[in-house]
Symmetry: C2
Subunit: 272 residues, 2 copies
């Protein structure tokens, strides 16, 4: 029922493992039923490649893609696997149009919570923070120009579809991001293990209820001094034990959820 | 100055990449200056292999190992790299004696916060949760019998030395762990995205200040129903956005830090 892809379409999709080709085409790959489903729902999917073996199982996904006007190709499972970045391919890959929007647009609607990744280099960390920001109800995520490519396959995979859920900005120098955050009336907090203020103290003070942009720095060297000096406060997650530091994505989860809690009065929270 | 290792010692160390050999010898590998330094400080290191190129830089580490009576071998950098699990070896690897202790011992001293990994299978997640539990001031971490091997090189690396910092238990069936936690007067909370109680509600209620054991389940299927039924409450981290779920290590960070905060009155917290 489904047409096979031409060799040219397969070759095109395969070249999207390279950043330069992603940038010249404005496209990237999403893989696995969940991410492809979210790409279709978000209107970002352009082409979907499904392995013959999984077509029966993914009938619902295939139908919704076709219903949305997306070209769906059925091909050999090893061809789909050749488009996959993982050692356990899930039989379905979509070519998607990039989803990032302009910084001013993302911050233009009175955001309350924004995560800014400043020179985050590990794609797994970056993707996990996008997912966590989505879960914490953030209004936008910004990957600064110095950060890993959002459309790196490992990063896309770590977002588990969240890059299709909330406004994401890429490519702005972090100084511009901070200026735009201030212009959007956001309090700018730099998360850093050497911060002068403790996250618990921030929570106790009530200040964390204000609209906030969190800056998260590089895995190895944190946030440079000039960036910390731009922030309203440099906040550390307290280390109660002997660990030297927290993993970046874990620290981001604690900070973003602290803000999410502080910004909601008990009656606004998710009822049990 | 430092002796070269015999081929037999190198071969022995190299075989520790296999779980069966780790279990028969009671040994495992830790790599990189920080982890090796912590292994030496904890008295867990038995042998250290240092690459010739990094010996001058790691003089302090070498001296402290020698001072602790650890055998230190200098060898070719590619030999040390062959013992490494990473694509960016850091030139130093230690053979360590396993550090886990008995469940009863770990829970024997009126613990306030314990993390239990029930069938966590990804070594990176497991190691990150050990690190996070250490940072949050947990008194112990338990990896149930169904979980990944603590001494898997990827897991050891993700702990960034924290497995040498706090009591760790491995190999107990999770039912026994829950029984022991109750016997130690711990409230048992199962973390699950489908939980009936919201983490914010737990915090608001004051119940989170009680001594607590958190159960964290498998990355894919969470906690099985029979395990959830053993818990005093099944608690979900609220999802405010559209994300389907949180990454396991991120959810664990939010839960453990919620307890760490609830268990400390403001005056007990880390002052700013």
């Amino acid at each position: 029922m489904l047409a096979p892809p031409s060799k040219a379409r397969i070759a095109h999709a395969r070249r999207l493992d390279r950043r330069a080709f992603r940038e010249s085409t404005g496209e990237f790959l999403a893989e696995g039923p969940q991410a492809v489903g979210e790409a279709v729902a978000a209107g970002a999917a352009r082409e979907v490649f499904v392995g013959s073996e999984v077509v029966p199982r993914l009938r619902g996904l295939v139908d919704s893609a076709l219903g949305a006007g997306v070209r769906v190709y059925e091909t050999a499972d090893d061809v789909v696997a050749s488009l996959s970045d993982t050692s356990t391919p899930q039989g379905v890959v979509a070519v998607c149009a990039r989803v990032d929007i302009a910084l001013q647009t993302a911050l233009g609607q009175a955001p309350r919570l924004v995560a800014v990744l400043a020179a985050v280099r590990d794609p797994g960390n970056a993707g996990t923070i996008v997912r966590t920001a989505d879960a914490a109800g953030a209004d936008a995520v910004v990957l600064s120009a110095e950060s890993v490519d959002l459309y790196n396959p490992k990063c896309v995979r770590a977002t588990t579809g969240s890059l299709f859920h909330l406004p994401v900005v890429v490519g702005s120098p972090v100084g511009e991001v901070v200026a735009a955050a201030r212009a959007a009336s956001l309090r700018v907090l730099a998360a850093d293990g050497a911060g002068s203020v403790d996250l618990d103290t921030e929570l106790d003070s009530g200040r964390l209820a204000a609209p906030t942009a969190w800056l998260f720095g590089n895995e190895a060297w944190g946030l440079p001094a000039e960036l910390r000096s731009l922030a309203d406060a440099v906040v550390r997650v307290p280390i109660h034990g002997q660990a030297e530091s927290l993993n970046l994505a874990a620290a981001a989860a604690v900070c973003l959820y602290a803000s999410a809690r502080a910004q909601r009065r008990p009656e606004e929270r998710d009822p049990s």
